[in-house]
């Protein structure tokens, strides 16, 4: 096994990011083309019959991209090992999830595309809204997230900072950087919560998006059958939302000991979203009372607005969950 040095690891990272960029360029074009096809099928009535096929094409392109990202993450995680500078002891590599940093929007686009293709109950009516959302998210992911061109900027910045400190010959700086990256490795990237908490929340976001689309249809077309569809998606989303949030709390207590996380922006907004969806599901039990459907529809819309704000809070409000 060749001797691990900061320079050799940095070289391997450069090779991997270069390979990802080469593979990602045509993939990004393919994804953008499929997103445009979806937009065309929604906007031009003559092409509406092709919407499911266009949605499936977008899903296939996003899945192909996701497979490349998974390959990149596995290889990068193996390459980026953490070594204690003084003893040379290797503490381990990284298990890098595919739903962090620049890849959040991409993961959401993929999830909504799956729902757009798979939705059966009122699928034809829901598809324009869901496939349109998936296409918009995919374009947004390519423009702002840039998962193929600029992958994992925060992780790579921190890891390269550690490599630079290790290579500098300053023992104290190297140990400080080691302590920081080892903490991130143990309590963030490789923590089992990281593989449970965010994916559960993403699944709930996808289901709530479908519920919101059905609620919009109910409000516009005033047909009660859409309410059933909205409820079915909401109950699907509520389960992973509740479990994901509760599983996040012990993680926060252990990993953020001494840090300001309680009542932080993201925690606040998540609590608000959960409270509103709980209120929606409670209110919905009395749907047959006169005028109750309006209150239930309003709760559903407000809860989804809270969901969008919760997502945006990560980027707008500073705090431990934040990239603001």
């Amino acid at each position: 096994m060749p001797m691990l040095t900061p320079a050799s690891i940095d070289q391997e990272i450069a090779a991997l990011t270069g390979a990802l960029e080469s593979l990602g360029r045509p993939l990004a074009v393919l994804i953008a083309a499929c997103a445009l096809l979806v937009g065309l099928a929604i906007a031009v009535p003559a092409f509406r019959g092709r919407l499911r096929a266009a949605s499936a094409a977008l899903l296939a392109a996003l899945s192909l991209g996701e497979a490349v990202l998974v390959w990149f993450h596995v290889r990068l995680g193996q390459a980026c090992v953490v070594v204690e500078p003084q003893s040379g002891r290797v503490t381990g590599g990284f298990a890098l999830p595919v739903w962090i940093e620049s890849e959040k929007l991409y993961a959401l686009a993929l999830l909504i595309a799956v729902i757009a293709v798979a939705a059966r109950r009122h699928g034809e009516e829901l598809r324009p809204l869901l496939a349109g959302a998936a296409a918009a998210l995919a374009i947004g992911a390519l423009i702002w997230g840039r998962p193929f061109a600029a992958p994992l900027p925060d992780f790579l910045a921190q890891y390269r900072g550690y490599l630079a400190a290790w290579a500098s010959g300053d023992a104290a700086a190297a140990m400080r950087a080691f302590a920081s990256i080892e903490g991130s490795r143990r309590y963030f990237y490789n923590a089992w919560y990281m593989w449970v908490h965010p994916p559960l929340l993403f699944v709930s976001y996808g289901a709530f998006a479908a519920s919101f689309a059905a609620t919009l249809l109910m409000i516009v077309r005033r047909r009660s059958s859409y309410e059933q569809t909205a409820y079915r998606w909401a109950r699907l989303g509520y389960l992973p939302l509740t479990a994901g949030m509760i599983l996040g709390m012990p993680w926060a207590i252990v990993a953020w000991k001494g840090e300001a996380w309680w009542w932080s922006g993201k925690v606040n907004m998540s609590l608000m979203m959960w409270a509103l969806y709980t209120a929606y599901l409670h209110g919905r039990l009395y749907l047959r009372r006169p005028g109750m459907w309006k209150a239930v529809a309003a709760l559903s819309v407000v809860a989804f607005v809270a969901l969008v704000l919760t997502y945006l809070t990560t980027y707008l409000v500073p705090g431990v969950h934040s990239v603001a």
């Binding site: 252990v254 309680w262 209120a279 047959r288 009372r289």
Partner: protein
């Protein structure tokens, strides 16, 4: 008849729950907006102003949380007791909580005692429901939805108990995980009952 339906016990509890959850939601939104403003306008706010912000948020949330716990306490034993007995049991539960508060001087201990009592009652409801005991009042016929409802409420109570009474206890993490399991399992059974729960066609609240 219409009047009776309008002000049924279940409906009143559901309205109270929705109002309290809405208030908690508004508090969260206002708190987030304040934190956003403070971060932007006060350099170093996280070090200087955050502890005070947490104290204010806790103080505002406490009465809402207490009220939610009380509503939950009224909701939980409604399966076991008739209306008059239910009010007695609810008042009794509150009295025990207040007594512990007064004896120990700690509202946390009072809430913990009240929640512990609610958890015991709810555990009894779950056991009685699972073994199919008669006399439990549910609006649904689905055995899965009944068990799910019981587990869901038990999960909420255990979660509240973890936050209120077990924060510095070694039992906190196991209690959190148990509440997550109960909430997830309860939601699955309750919300995936064959018929969607709606008053008049079967409710699992």
């Amino acid at each position: 008849m219409r009047e009776r339906q309008r002000w049924s016990w279940d409906f009143a509890l559901a309205v109270a729950t929705v109002v309290l959850l809405g208030a908690l939601g508004i508090q969260s939104l206002v708190g987030t907006l304040y934190a956003w403003w403070a971060y932007r306008t006060q350099p170093g706010w996280e070090a200087t102003g955050y502890p005070a912000f947490v104290s204010v948020m806790n103080a505002v949330a406490a009465p809402l949380a207490v009220a939610l716990v009380l509503v939950m306490g009224l909701c939980v034993p409604k399966r076991l007791f008739a209306r008059r007995a239910l009010v007695g049991v609810s008042v009794g539960g509150i009295a025990v909580g207040v007594a512990v508060w007064l004896l120990t001087g700690s509202i946390k201990d009072g809430l913990g005692a009240y929640l512990g009592l609610s958890a015991l009652l709810q555990a009894a409801v779950v056991v009685l429901t699972v073994v199919g005991a008669g006399g439990l009042s549910y609006l649904t016929d689905s055995a899965a939805a009944k068990a799910g409802s019981g587990l869901l409420h038990l999960g909420f109570i255990l979660f509240a108990l973890s936050v209120v009474a077990l924060q510095s206890s070694p039992f906190m993490l196991p209690a959190f995980l148990a509440s997550a399991l109960l909430l997830t399992g309860g939601s699955a059974l309750s919300f995936y009952a064959r018929r969607p729960p709606v008053e008049g066609s079967g409710s699992s609240t």
